[in-house]
Symmetry: C2
Subunit: 324 residues, 2 copies
């Protein structure tokens, strides 16, 4: 049995509770929250403790699953928790990964713990495939498409506009671009060529519709470089049609094997629940780092450092027979 704790209780933690149902070598020992534990009810019935009590669980938890957000939680909680436990997290601020890895690597090595960072699908399974594709066909180009799915960051950006009550932004890959890449044409694609941004916005009473639409469409980085569609809807319609957590995406590489022959590889994922999928991946990697730590590995690791055999419950003989 691999004993895990959940540090933070949101969508990822709830996803872990689901994932553990399909992975009977895991046991959730405790949930830790900054909130008053009496106000947090877990769906699995696991007991909730205040985060200040976490040090009492040293020796009782093999791996602490860090379920906080990347923006402000993980940069602080990651190193704190790695001092006490082996950890796994879903840190996904791509630009800050090298720095976070370095910090976690140092703390892990100083304290004899292993910390798996940035586990999930992107970063995560997509990263594995980007690396695998590039190494197996060096002359070529990687493309990543995301969606169709809600971008939390873009939805938040719209919600900050004056007059907006609620918003969802769907990132949608442009089929024409995907098809060109899949055909091995290695096209040069701008941001606009690759993805469409479709926004559903609920206005506050008396808000200026044109102002909101123009502010969205001209927002630098987020929308200005894209074809952006804005729909104004009622709160009822938002609740009815836009509460889903589906997401997905594709990594594709086209390249040349020789002057005569090309190849194309692609990895595609579609899920009805982004957090449940992420959590399901996290549990597999928790198993892997549990094993790696038992073999003496300490410091930070990413999905790129983990052989896939370590993810599986099956032993080496069974894997060779059934999956190789």
């Amino acid at each position: 049995m691999i004993n895990i704790g959940l540090y933070g209780y949101g969508n990822i933690a709830r996803g872990i509770e689901e994932a553990v149902k399909h992975n009977d070598d895991f046991n959730i020992v405790a949930v830790f929250s900054r909130r008053d534990p009496s106000t947090v009810k877990t769906s699995s019935g696991v007991k909730v403790y205040h985060s200040s009590e976490v040090a009492n669980f040293v020796g009782k938890i093999d791996i602490m699953v860090l379920c906080g957000g990347s923006a402000t939680d993980l940069p602080v909680q990651g190193p704190q928790m790695l001092k006490l436990f082996n950890t796994i997290d879903t840190f996904d601020t791509h630009a800050k990964i090298p720095e976070y890895f370095q910090t976690m690597d140092k703390v892990g090595k100083e304290n004899g713990h292993i910390g798996a960072i940035s586990v999930g699908w992107d970063p995560g399974l997509f990263s594995i495939n980007r690396c695998l594709f590039e190494a197996c066909m060096p002359e070529g180009e990687n493309y990543t498409f995301w969606g169709k799915g809600v971008s939390q960051g873009h939805s938040d950006a719209i919600r900050r506009i004056e007059g907006v009550l609620d918003a969802r932004q769907y990132t949608i890959p442009k089929e024409d671009a995907v098809n060109k890449v899949k055909a091995g044409l290695n096209p040069t694609l701008t941001a606009r060529d690759k993805h469409l941004r479709e926004c559903f916005v609920v206005l506050k009473e008396g808000a200026d519709k044109d102002y909101v639409e123009q502010t969205i469409k001209s927002m630098p980085n987020y929308f200005a470089d894209y074809d952006t569609i804005v729909h104004f809807i009622s709160m009822n319609e938002m609740r009815k049609n836009h509460m889903g957590l589906a997401h997905g995406g594709t990594v594709i590489r086209g390249g040349n094997l020789s002057s005569e022959n090309k190849a194309v590889m692609s990895f595609e994922m579609n899920t009805e629940s982004n957090p449940q999928f992420t959590s399901s991946v996290v549990i597999a990697y928790a198993r892997a780092i549990y094993r790696m730590h038992n073999e003496g590995r300490v410091g930070a690791v990413s999905v790129l450092d983990v052989p896939v055999s370590y993810l599986s419950k099956k032993d080496s003989k069974t894997l060779l027979k059934e999956l190789l």
Copy 2:
């Protein structure tokens, strides 16, 4: 520089010569052949030696790439070469992989060498994805589709029929089945549901067309359980239209994350040259096992045992920055 030798000189060896052009950390030291070396001309100009001279190259070759066939060459050459060198091969007789792994593991450990077995795309990249998919979503089902591409085994089976001068058999995945699986329906599929077998046959003068067609279509294991189409063509048409080495395939897993939410993952590969693609994968894994051996690893390994970061020429920092 990683110094490699090529043991056997056929399509895979020629593919390695191409792959090394895109991987400048490799140097081909020598080619070994059972034929008279003066009759073998390598496309890269690398010198050919008789296979009986191979022991003279101990200490000069880091990894011997075994380019022989799985049926009769590798079961003998694998253990022989692994006594002298680190090795990598493309052993692809799925049913015999566990036994071959065990033999190679023993020889490798006894002689302090590492032997990577069954590298390529299936077994190989497909195996990685089957394992990754299953571990990341335990409740679900894996499907593998092959093609469109020539099956050497099925083509050979047709060539053994009386009256047949030459033949090519294309394995073609059935679109309807692929679409159902990609939609996450996890259908129950028979062999017939999954693949179509299309055969192009050149008859000998005076051969019995109906006999050949019936013999093909009723051949147990190979064709009887499939929808099989037989075309009779001229030798000219065979030479003009059916000499290509294109191949490809897809691994798909659909499954349940919870009682409410599903997910589907897929990996797809299409290549204009099956042997060149295989060789390109082999070179990446040769780099990986060179590193693993430098770290002290001995015995047999499969692609499931190799972290993808070991495949890349890029250092860990660059990988985190560019690919994670």
